[in-house]
């Protein structure tokens, strides 16, 4: 038996967890005009929220949830981005336990972080590092 998890809860938990890892660097849900004022900041995007549905007419016959969120790190200095990415790797990769703090958090079996690639945006004058993090959530 499994109940569908609430994406709102995921969003709150991701925001809290990332913020607690990279503080005092600000964390935002989406990219906006932060690049104009912040020398370094982190954004995230949640995707692939999906519990596999099993057979039969019982709506609760579902599997675990394995959502992925992309973490984008923007910095004016390239090395800062790599340093922040390492903070996230050390804290999150392989992590098992309460995710997202006492108020909005939930227990995860696994956080699996993939360090995707780094880049540079000449227009914004910002270096970028991208990571994917997949959560295994008992449901």
């Amino acid at each position: 038996m499994a109940t569908q998890q609430n994406p709102v809860q995921y969003a709150k938990a991701i925001q809290y967890q990332l913020q607690s890892i990279v503080t005092p660097v600000p964390v935002y849900a989406t990219f906006n005009r932060n690049f104009a004022i912040e020398p370094k900041f982190v954004t995230w995007m949640l995707r692939n929220v999906h519990q596999e549905v099993f057979t039969g007419q019982n709506q609760n016959n579902k599997s675990i949830d394995r959502p992925t969120f992309q973490i984008s790190i923007f910095t004016q200095v390239i090395e800062d981005g790599f340093t922040i990415s390492n903070q996230i790797l050390q804290s999150l990769h392989g992590y098992s336990g309460l995710f997202g703090g006492a108020t909005n958090g939930f227990w995860i079996a696994k956080a699996d972080v993939i360090w995707l690639y780094n880049s540079y945006d000449n227009e914004d004058k910002l270096a970028q590092v991208f990571l994917d993090c997949t959560l295994d959530i008992p449901t």
Partner: protein, 164 residues
């Protein structure tokens, strides 16, 4: 909290084993007793496996054919605990893996192993006594070196327990 009341990710399961060169394995009663089993499931005793293989009970059946009957009859017999072939990334200095190697070398050491699975609130344990065989190092160049070994449980020596 009692048994986990959620669908668990496979990642939730982990494997532990009694420490010491000459352990005293748990009795059948203790194997189904939370306090005895959870004392083994501590981080120092964890076997760092790549995945916990299927655990539980084997299939065993007696098949009867009765003359004059349209169908034969299959009756489950008391089936043995499942042998578990374990793959662990090989760190030659890992004390737990070294102990497994020593057990395999000896061949007659009974030791209690514990599989633990949790949803963060409740925990379920499967404990069994086993000997080690087929300790091998698989050093294929395309991946990490692996220590592969098989745990053969002793008959009638396993139990389930959970946090209460």
């Amino acid at each position: 909290m009692p048994l986990p009341s959620k669908v668990l990710p496979g990642f939730s399961a982990s494997l532990f084993m009694q420490s010491g060169a000459t352990p005293t394995p748990l009795t059948n009663t203790q194997l189904a007793t939370l306090a005895s089993v959870s004392a083994i499931a501590i981080s120092a005793n964890q076997v760092l496996v790549e995945a916990v293989p299927a655990f539980g009970q084997d299939d065993a059946v007696a098949n009867f054919t009765v003359a004059g009957s349209r169908q034969s009859d299959k009756i489950p017999t008391q089936s043995a605990p499942t042998s578990m072939t374990i793959t662990a990334a090989w760190n030659p200095s890992d004390t737990v893996i070294q102990q497994v190697r020593a057990d395999a070398y000896n061949g007659t050491i009974d030791r209690t192993y514990v599989v633990q699975a949790t949803d963060g609130t409740g925990t379920v344990y499967y404990a069994f006594n086993a000997r080690v065989s087929q300790f091998q190092i698989d050093a294929q160049p395309g991946a990490e070196a692996k220590a592969v070994f098989t745990l053969h449980p002793r008959g009638n020596q396993y139990g389930w327990s959970n946090t209460a």
